[in-house]
């Protein structure tokens, strides 16, 4: 092991560049998958004839595939049918597609956990179905969904590391370039990379726990 050589200032700067891209890609994917997840989860919950079934099939198919396969597919296979994306856009697209499906399921079960009696009460007091959903059901459900949603975001942040396969210059990729120089760099670099992920994700999970205990 060569700790001093592995963790030189230049190397740390190079790692920091990668980490910035990781956070950037993760942030945009989180935002997009949050929106799409809520829309798809609600559509599935709402039991609209045909549409809800179609959404269910899409969500279930994606949820049951490995993310790695989705990344490969979007970057290597979609160009064959004419959709060409740069590594950054492909990474964001793949993460968004996968995490949206995971979030849609969280949203659906969150909505399902709200007592049906409330819907009936709201409806009979004159609200439309959509009004009931938006102003009565969704706010309560969202609060309940916070912990699973945050853990899904943590997964997403970790999963950005898989984008190393399309040579996206993110955290893991830059780590690889450094340890490629010398096998004695591997373990120190892994420790640093693992700790960086740990710190960010652990903070996220602490926030989730605080939100959870506040609502309890």
């Amino acid at each position: 092991m060569d700790i001093a050589g592995a963790l030189s200032v230049d190397h740390l700067k190079f790692l920091a560049d990668g980490f910035k891209l990781t956070l950037y890609v993760a942030f945009i994917s989180i935002v997009l998958s949050f929106i799409i997840g809520i829309v798809f989860g609600t559509l599935r919950y709402a039991n609209i004839p045909f549409l809800s079934k179609v959404v269910a099939v899409i969500v279930e198919t994606i949820r049951n595939l490995p993310l790695l396969l989705i990344i490969f597919f979007i970057f290597f296979a979609l160009p064959e049918v004419g959709l060409k994306l740069s590594p950054t856009v492909a990474a964001i697209a793949a993460l968004t597609v996968f995490e949206s499906a995971m979030l849609a399921e969280i949203v659906r079960s969150g909505l399902n956990s709200i007592d049906k009696g409330q819907i009936e009460a709201a409806r009979s007091s004159g609200l439309t179905y959509i009004q009931t959903l938006v102003s009565i059901v969704m706010p309560q459900a969202l609060r309940r969904m916070v912990p699973p949603i945050v853990s899904q975001f943590i997964s997403l942040l970790k999963d950005t590391s898989l984008c190393v396969i399309i040579a996206l210059p993110e955290f893991m990729h830059n780590a690889q370039i450094i340890y490629a120089q010398n096998i004695n760099f591997i373990i120190p670099i892994f420790v640093v990379v693992a700790f960086m992920y740990f710190i960010v994700n652990y903070c996220l999970s602490l926030i989730a726990r605080r939100l959870e205990s506040r609502q309890a």
């Binding site: 049951n64 490995p66 943590i154 970790k158 373990i187």
Partner: protein, 217 residues
């Protein structure tokens, strides 16, 4: 629309990968369950140092990417003298990673059983372990089955990580078929189908159990 000749001409390759994916999943599943139970017990046992170790394991492993754990076992360990094949390294990494989620699910399940029951059981003369085994665990199991089931589905999906360390799984061989035939779209569609053959029944099974257990409460 789909060119099935890709599947037929490379069927042996696909099946070899599929077999290894199933094998890695089963071994990692058993391994992660055993480690998960041990860690969960450590976290709730009335001995402080054990609690700390258990918590540290769960919090650390849960918050780092599986890829790092897999790389660590495949190319990190050899620098301290332990060489594992891609399949073995990947399977161990999968078990260790999934165990942290399973431990957390089990702990949450056990703690969902009201504390009073443990106290009542202890005061009626049972030891801690007896109370755990006879009173607490049977109730906790009902609560933890759905989340553990979901973790197993994740495990099967995550096993694709073996493809990145030459673990000879479905993802690895799918990738080879694609790079040797210069065809990508149908190759990956067939890989996806093989994964769905595994994960869809698992998902349906977990969904069914979830409903049944919810009813029996």
């Amino acid at each position: 629309m789909l060119d099935f000749s890709i599947l037929i001409n490379n069927l042996d390759t696909y099946l070899e990968g599929f077999k290894n994916t199933v094998l890695a999943s089963i071994i990692a599943l058993i391994g992660s369950f055993i480690i998960g139970v041990i860690v969960a017990v450590m976290r709730i046992a009335p001995i402080k140092p054990l609690n700390w170790i258990g918590s540290a394991y769960v919090e650390f492993i849960r918050n780092i990417p599986l890829l790092i754990i897999a790389f660590f076992f495949y190319i990190g360990l050899p620098s301290i003298g332990v060489t594992l094949s891609g399949f073995v390294a990947g399977t161990i990494a999968l078990a260790i990673y999934t165990a942290s989620f399973i431990a957390e699910a089990i702990r949450a399940g056990i703690q969902a059983v009201p504390k009073g029951q443990m106290e009542a059981a202890r005061s009626s003369g049972l030891t801690y372990l007896q109370a755990m085994r006879i009173i607490i665990l049977p109730q906790a199991i009902k609560i933890v089955i759905p989340p553990i089931g979901n973790q197993f589905i994740n495990l099967v999906k995550n096993s694709a990580i073996l493809g990145m360390i030459a673990g000879l799984d479905l993802m690895y061989f799918g990738d080879l078929v694609s790079s040797h035939t210069f065809v990508t779209f149908p190759v990956y569609i067939f890989v996806a189908m093989f994964y769905l053959v595994l994960t869809i029944p698992l998902s349906l099974g977990v969904g069914y159990l979830e409903k049944r257990l919810a009813r029996s409460h």
